[in-house]
């Protein structure tokens, strides 16, 4: 009897560990989306594609220059920040007051980016082994892969840095001011469009960072972004729009939910469980766990 409960407990802790590591991944993916969707309120369905571009960028650096993906991040992340800023300026800025057209346009971007990569790579799955990808650490009898732990660490650093940046720096305060009231911010002399462009760029850059760090774990495919983007939207809504802490904690909640649902219910239905969490949050607490009450009510129309 005691023996069986031991096994059950072991499995339980393994699932918790898996959930935490997955949560770290989701937290990292969501930090960038939190800036784009949570702060500047653009529904960017192509966020997952920037993650995918980050993965392919790291892979490219690795195969052509022998760069370790972690070193490649220093090239890939700035490149994707600039790409995000260009896309914001060309596509999202003209549609500022038309949130529904932004949804369409971001879906067009999704199709465009995904299929350009498909056309170039021919859809062959790629994976790579870095010195880190084989290392596992054993803590209290549970195995952790080093790459997953690095992601967990990176998610903490990214969330912490973004939170500090938004709270302490002048530009971070400008971003928050624009998010709260675009017109008032403009009257205070803030360049709204430039702020939005930078926020969008930082958001896509962070998605790229997540992609780079995920390269040693996942097989690369043009469609891989879709695996994360829905969970990331759930995380941002769950944590509360615009709340960096919320996105961080929300990532772990979604990660743990997915791990438990995958183990104890059915791996095929884990996406369904995330959706149910998403709907439940909208029903019970639409402003999210850490969001300001009423933040979800700030419709896009009033910002015009």
């Amino acid at each position: 009897m005691g023996f069986h409960t031991d096994i059950a407990m072991d499995q339980f802790f393994n699932v918790v560990a898996l959930g935490l590591l997955l949560g770290g991944t989701y937290a990292l993916v969501s930090v960038g989306l939190n800036l784009i969707f949570g702060v500047i309120r653009i529904v960017n369905f192509s966020q997952g594609e920037f993650l995918m571009l980050g993965m392919y960028g790291a892979y490219l650096g690795y195969t052509t220059m022998g760069l370790d993906p972690y070193a490649g991040a220093f090239i890939v992340v700035p490149a994707l920040t600039v790409l995000g800023m260009i896309i914001y300026w060309l596509v999202m800025r003209p549609l500022q007051n038309e949130p529904m057209m932004q949804v369409f346009a971001s879906f067009g971007l999704l199709l465009l980016i995904q299929n350009i990569v498909l056309a170039i790579t021919g859809g062959v799955g790629m994976s790579m082994n870095t010195p880190f990808s084989q290392i596992t650490l054993t803590i209290a009898g549970i195995q952790f892969s080093a790459t997953r732990l690095i992601i967990l660490l990176a998610s903490m650093v990214a969330a912490g840095a973004l939170g500090l940046y938004l709270a302490k720096t002048t530009f971070g305060q400008a971003i928050r001011a624009v998010a709260q009231d675009r017109k008032a911010a403009q009257l205070m002399g803030i360049n709204v469009e430039r702020t939005f462009m930078w926020s969008f760029g930082i958001g896509t850059g962070l998605a790229g960072l997540a992609g780079v760090l995920l390269t040693p774990i996942y097989t690369l495919s043009p469609q891989i972004g879709g695996n994360f983007v829905m969970a990331a939207f759930a995380v941002v809504v769950l944590g509360g729009l615009g709340s960096v802490l919320g996105a961080f904690v929300g990532g772990f909640i979604v990660g743990l939910t997915e791990a438990f649902a995958g183990y104890y219910i059915d791996p095929e239905l884990k996406h369904a469980v995330i959706f149910i969490v998403f709907i439940a949050v909208l029903l019970i607490r639409p402003s999210g766990l850490f969001g300001q009450a009423g933040a979800e009510e700030v419709g896009l129309r009033e910002q015009s």
Binding site: L95, M101, A105, F107, L118, G122, F275, I279
Partner: protein
């Protein structure tokens, strides 16, 4: 239905202004009728002329199906301004309902139309209710999530959907089974579907619900202040739109006789395509979505055959560019552009 609503509004308001508005409305609906008959007759003629041409007939049939689906989407997406990319889910519900009832219980698909409509509308209402309470873009996100969940369920629930390998139904030709040996009969069937969605669309646009939906779309706060029940309006629009989409699923099931989740629930091939067709044709107009389908379905086929075969994903690259450019420069679609062009050209005469 529109007469009933007019009668109601006549009771509720008093005075001469109401009378004038009522006569305006009757004039518009009756003005709509010749155009409607003309459009349907023109398509019927096209079916007759193409009845020997297997390839073009098939293309026209698919264009009519997607035209009907886009007209249905337009009721909530165009009139109500609530963009859904999850209409593939209601399409799939219709297909699975008809397929299973026909296969396991030998129920005619003509009868299955009713449960398919009810089920689609019910799912639409249950999913939409929590998100319609919020303003902003939550609806679009929720519909994207719904598609993912539907795929997961369809793959999991093998007794109903046949899992990844799909659901096949036996071939028993006959009008009662909605299975025909002649291909033109399917074209006629989908023309009937399109015509039905157009009629519903015309009636709604000229009814109280249509005005409510447009008011909610244009300014929900002002609409609420004017006493329009926002939630009920959006839910009604969504349920009607989903029910009509479900009917499309029933017809599609009997046309292809094999469906699998990956194709039926594909985010792009169905869900986004329906919305894209409406966008290209002209969101919020009656005939815009039909026009969009007549343009986009052949174009999609052509891109698939000539670009997609040479470059993997090449056809989707082109459609992605169309989607971006369309949302940037053609918000009113081809229909809107034609109207604008006509208005610019007319005074010069």
């Amino acid at each position: 239905m529109s007469n009933l609503d007019l009668a109601q509004s006549g009771h509720m308001h008093a005075g001469a202004s109401t009378k004038r508005r009522a006569t305006d409305d009757i004039w518009t609906v009756s003005k709509e009728l010749p155009i409607f008959i003309g459009v349907v007759a023109a398509i019927a003629l096209a079916i007759y002329l193409l009845s020997g041409q297997f390839f073009y007939l098939n293309l026209l049939t698919m264009a009519l199906l997607f035209g009907g689906l886009a007209v249905s989407w337009n009721i909530i997406g165009g009139f109500g301004g609530q963009f859904s990319i999850a209409h593939s889910v209601f399409f799939a519900i219709g297909a699975y309902t008809a397929g299973n009832l026909y296969k396991h219980f030998d129920i005619s698909p003509w009868i299955s139309i009713l449960p398919a409509m009810v089920l689609s509308a019910a799912v639409a209402a249950v999913v939409s209710w929590p998100v319609f309470r919020l303003r902003g873009p939550f609806f679009a996100i929720a519909t994207m999530a719904l598609t993912e969940v539907a795929i997961a369920f369809a793959m999991h629930w093998k007794t109903v959907t046949g899992g990844a390998s799909g659901l096949t139904i036996p071939y028993r030709a006959g009008l009662e089974n909605m299975i025909f040996t002649q291909r033109w009969a399917y074209a006629a069937l989908f023309l009937g579907y399109l015509a039905a969605t157009l009629v519903v669309s015309i009636v709604i646009l000229r009814s109280r619900l249509g005005y409510y939906l447009q008011a909610v779309r244009d300014n929900d706060k002002a609409a609420e202040a004017s006493g329009i029940p926002i939630m009920r309006t959006k839910l009604k629009g969504m349920a009607i739109s989903a029910a009509l989409t479900g009917v499309g699923g029933v017809f599609f099931m009997m046309y292809v006789r094999i469906v699998e989740p990956a194709g039926l629930l594909s985010l792009f091939d169905v869900g986004v395509k329906i919305a894209l067709i409406a966008l290209i044709g002209g969101i919020g107009t009656i005939y815009g979505p039909l026009l969009g389908a007549l343009i986009l379905v052949p174009l999609d086929y052509w891109l698939r055959a000539f670009i997609g075969s040479a470059i993997p994903g090449g056809n989707l690259i082109v459609l992605g560019i169309i989607l971006i450019l369309g949302s940037l420069y053609m918000k009113k679609g081809v229909f809107g552009a034609l109207k604008q062009g006509y208005a610019a050209w007319r005074p010069k005469r």
